[in-house]
């Protein structure tokens, strides 16, 4: 089920909220938690009931491994068998992910190397598998290291399947979520928290339905016609996709955080105004924060982080970003995208003494959860970086706005490979940008934006002054970009939703945005991060 669907908003959500608060009100807490699990499974199985099989295998297997860790520790055998079990656990989780997501990719590449014919396999890829696998892997590794005790199976399943985060994250740590299920205060309806959750959900829905999906029409048109692009249209295509992806994914995360608040079980923030970043390193501290935190804690630091010299730090960074690219998709374009971001972050090493700060938990992942009574911090290897470029990078001498523009440009160009269907298509788009040619294709991209609300105007122009229509379309296209730019650098959705007190005007604004978004759902679209 998608957040941006009628069934979710008008059936699933009211039923879930009603059941959750009803069972909690009569103090049947375990029943309430079971109800939430049941609803979450419905939410997940709505796409395809077969997905439940892989989810069940993953959850049961994952929990069994955690229990095994504890048993070994209790018996004092952790030292002897700990590493073996850790390897087995990693193999289990990554094996599940690998089978479903990467089998086809590996077979295709092997066949192209050996020259043997390849018959594509039709393996059903369960949605959200990359996210819930990493979440379980993190928990398992913490258990294996003895950093956490094993929770009950009910808590474990709640942690994995809690519906606001199962599809596209954020990738949560056990400490951020499980503890909240035990706080009685969170089981009571809190009007302030609920109201803020509603506001946040509406803002996320609007980002997705009104901005990302509209921009997506022009972007898809551009990527369907790469051979026709000229320099300005290729440039707008690259920037358009970057902005679309941001509104799409951050819109989803806003909805997830908002839903969390409505249920009283809060979820970590995943974005922090990434386009205000003044370096690629800072970008990764602000973009998909929980993924960066995962890679830092469970890959970058175990590899030695920045403690083993400059060269090793660069290598570790590159490993993290190549893995991150591969995690995003089974394709060489994703790997190359990761490589470019690794280069971007590691570039700071070339200009200064210190590549990464050793603060493994340096980049803040502000967790809305006050369950633990403090702000959580988390690492950032992919987020590993602000200080690198900021203090010692080659861009040090530039003013911050210039560095921000440079960073946006670099990131935007790299994300061309993220969107492209192949590496070759990515290079084709980049090539078009730097060929400095004009053929008027921008007018066609502008027309493809096709803002429904302006239909009457464009139709009237088409009949009355058809020569003006392309220019009006272009104007609308540019104004739409301007609006997006304004929203990117303006107040964050989280700040808007948290700002107190609420006014009547804000209520009207949010209602209009909500209804406008609902009216835009009929051509229901999926989220871009959906299959990662």
């Amino acid at each position: 089920m998608l957040f941006n669907s009628h069934i979710f908003i008008f059936v699933f959500l009211p039923l879930s909220l009603a059941g959750w608060y009803f069972f909690n009100r009569i103090k049947c807490y375990r029943l309430a938690q079971g109800y939430l699990i049941g609803m979450s499974l419905w939410f997940y199985a709505y796409f395809d009931v077969r997905y439940l099989i892989s989810l069940a295998v993953s959850c049961i297997g994952g929990y069994f491994l955690c229990v095994l860790c504890r048993r070994l520790r209790d018996k004092g055998a952790a030292r002897s068998y700990g590493k073996l079990l850790t390897a087995a656990g990693c193999l289990f989780h990554l094996g599940m992910l690998g089978y479903f997501k990467y089998t086809g990719f590996f077979l295709e590449n092997i066949s192209s190397l050996t020259g043997r014919a390849f018959t594509p396999l039709h393996i059903l890829l369960p949605v959200g598998i990359s996210f819930y696998t990493f979440q379980q892997l993190a928990y398992f590794l913490d258990c294996a290291k003895g950093e956490t005790s094993v929770c009950s199976f009910l808590d474990y399943v709640s942690f994995i399947v809690y519906f606001p985060q199962i599809l596209q994250g954020p990738i949560l740590l056990h400490g951020e979520l499980i503890g909240q299920f035990h706080e009685e205060e969170r089981r009571r309806f809190d009007a302030e928290r609920f109201a803020k959750g509603m506001a946040r959900f509406v803002l996320g829905l609007s980002k997705k339905a009104l901005l990302a999906d509209t921009l997506g029409k022009a972007v898809n048109f551009g990527y369907d016609n790469v051979s026709l692009l000229d320099s300005p249209s290729a440039l707008f295509l690259a920037a358009g996709y970057m902005i679309e992806l941001y509104f799409d994914f951050s819109g989803y995360c806003d909805m997830a955080v908002g839903l969390g608040k409505m249920f009283g079980i809060e979820i970590a923030e995943n974005f922090d105004a990434p386009f205000k970043s003044a370096s690629v390193k800072e970008f990764w501290r602000r973009w998909h924060i929980t993924l960066g935190r995962f890679f830092t804690r469970y890959v970058y630091i175990p590899l030695g982080g920045s403690r083993k010299g400059k060269l090793r730090t660069v290598c570790n960074t590159m490993i993290v970003f190549l893995l991150s690219g591969f995690w995003h998709g089974a394709g060489w374009n994703f790997v190359f995208w990761g490589f470019l971001h690794g280069i971007g972050v590691a570039a700071s090493a070339l200009g200064g003494k210190q590549i990464f700060t050793a603060r493994a938990a340096g980049s803040e992942c502000r967790v809305a959860s006050s369950a633990l009574g403090r702000r959580k911090t988390a690492a950032g290897a992919s987020g590993a970086a602000a200080e690198g470029l900021d203090r010692s990078g080659g861009l040090r001498g530039l003013r911050r706005p210039l560095r921000q523009i440079f960073t946006f440009a670099y990131v935007t160009l790299t994300f061309v490979f993220f969107r492209a269907s192949t590496l070759a298509q990515g290079f084709a788009v980049i090539g078009k940008i730097f060929r400095f040619r004009w053929n008027g294709f921008l007018f066609r991209m502008a027309e493809a934006l096709d803002v429904t609300e302006l239909y009457a105007v464009t139709k009237a122009l088409d009949m009355g002054a058809p020569a003006l229509l392309p220019w009006v379309n272009l104007l609308v296209f540019l104004l739409f970009f301007l609006l997006c730019a304004f929203l990117l650098v303006g107040k964050k959705a989280s700040a808007f939703a948290e700002e107190k007190p609420f006014s009547f005007l804000r209520t009207v604004l949010l209602s209009v945005l909500f209804v406008w978004s609902v009216l835009s759902l009929s051509g229901v679209s999926t989220f871009l991060y959906f299959t990662f």
Binding site: H6, F10, A191, E192, F194, A195, K196, M198, T452, E453, Y455, A456, K459, P501, F502, S503, F504, L505, R506, T507, V508, L510, S511, V512, F514, V515, W516, V518, L519, S520, L521, S522, G523
Partner: protein, 355 residues
């Protein structure tokens, strides 16, 4: 700025949103541009331009006694021609690239709610080649308008495109003298010429071997069975089947793709299967060389101008039409087309490019 408590925010937000959603749904339900609930209101015209969205509504909720059914080759008919020639009130049931099962679904909807005197059916040969059991397989079809489930009507009632595009379009067209008979017409936006037609034809380099009969006979017979059942179930309805005139280029392409035998088989089976019914009239325009060899009649290898549609409508009303196939002249008519097809295959027809 008036400050409000969080409780009030929640209450006001829900009330205001409910009111706005109700207003949006009411607007759509009243104007109903897809005619899902009722026919035109407030003296507005029946503006019918989106077959996938409007066809089913017009079939269910319009007042008519005749149905004009087919794919894109039937879109350029004017309903008014049939109204005038047959003293009828006609509605179109169109599905572009539709299968026979799609069209049967439309006709059964019409029969279930109306007394249907005439069915004018464009018998496209390529539709006889489709899966006889598949209907509305395209994901983009708005099936929420087709089922009888009121719950999924929200996709129509709360629809930004309907509010900002279709309702304004309905109002604008009603005010600017829209011709209600021209439903789904598109000929006015196209160029019909030899150059245009040739520009849409890529002649296959190779001539493939003909498909064996067992490859297609089941599909063709299955599709024709749909039509024969319909005819049999409605003996009081007159069925007019048109074999539309595809250009010589289309036949050339079919020959080179190894499909010529299949379509000749489909024609023969259609004639043999349908003609025994007394309420069937079969009109064959495919072997009229004056039409099919003259590429100025076309915009691409398949689609002909509205003038040809008009001719077909007039001929259907003529009981002595030379295009009529009867039990008596059936073999002669089929042989005429087969001979033309052989000439095209042999490159003897003048209009075939490269010959």
């Amino acid at each position: 700025m008036k400050k409000i408590s969080f409780q009030k925010f929640i209450r006001y937000f829900l009330i205001l949103s409910a009111l706005l959603l109700f207003a949006a749904a009411a607007l759509v339900a009243v104007f109903d541009p897809f005619y899902h609930y009722h026919g035109p209101v407030f003296g507005l015209k029946a503006v019918v331009t989106k077959s996938e969205y409007q066809c089913i509504g017009t079939i269910r909720n319009f007042s008519y006694d005749s149905v004009l059914c087919g794919s894109s080759t039937a879109e350029n008919y004017n309903n008014g021609w049939f109204d005038e020639l047959f003293g009828a009130r006609t509605v179109k049931a169109i599905k572009s690239s539709g299968t026979t099962a799609d069209l049967r679904f439309y006709l059964e909807e019409a029969f279930s709610s109306h007394e249907v005197k005439n069915v004018f059916y464009s018998l496209d040969l390529f539709a006889l080649d489709g899966d006889p059991d598949a209907n509305f397989v395209n994901d983009s079809m708005p099936l929420y308008l087709y089922d009888k489930n009121p719950l999924n009507d929200v996709r129509y009632l709360w629809n930004r495109d309907v509010i900002f595009e279709d309702i304004p379009y309905l109002l604008a067209m009603s005010l600017t003298g829209y011709d209600e008979g021209s439903s789904y017409n598109w000929w006015q936006y196209k160029t019909f010429s030899r150059e245009e037609t040739l520009s849409h034809y890529e002649r296959p380099e190779e001539v493939l071997a003909p498909l064996p009969e067992e490859e297609y006979a089941g599909r063709v017979d299955g599709n024709l069975a749909h039509l024969e059942e319909l005819v049999k179930e409605h003996p009081d309805t007159d069925f007019y089947f048109f074999l539309p005139p595809y250009s010589v280029l289309w036949w050339d392409g079919m020959y080179r793709n190894g499909r010529l035998e299949e379509y000749l088989y489909a024609r023969r089976q259609a004639a043999e299967g349908l003609l025994p019914f007394e309420n069937v009239r079969l009109l064959d325009f495919q072997s009229d060389e004056g039409i099919v060899l003259e590429l100025d009649n076309y915009m691409d290898p398949i689609h002909f101008s509205a003038d040809i549609n008009h001719l077909m409508a007039r001929e259907a009303a003529d009981p002595d039409s030379p295009y009529l196939i009867t039990q008596q002249n059936r073999e002669e008519a089929l042989a005429r087309m087969e001979a033309l097809a052989q000439r095209i295959a042999a490159g003897e027809a003048d209009a075939v490019p490269g010959e």
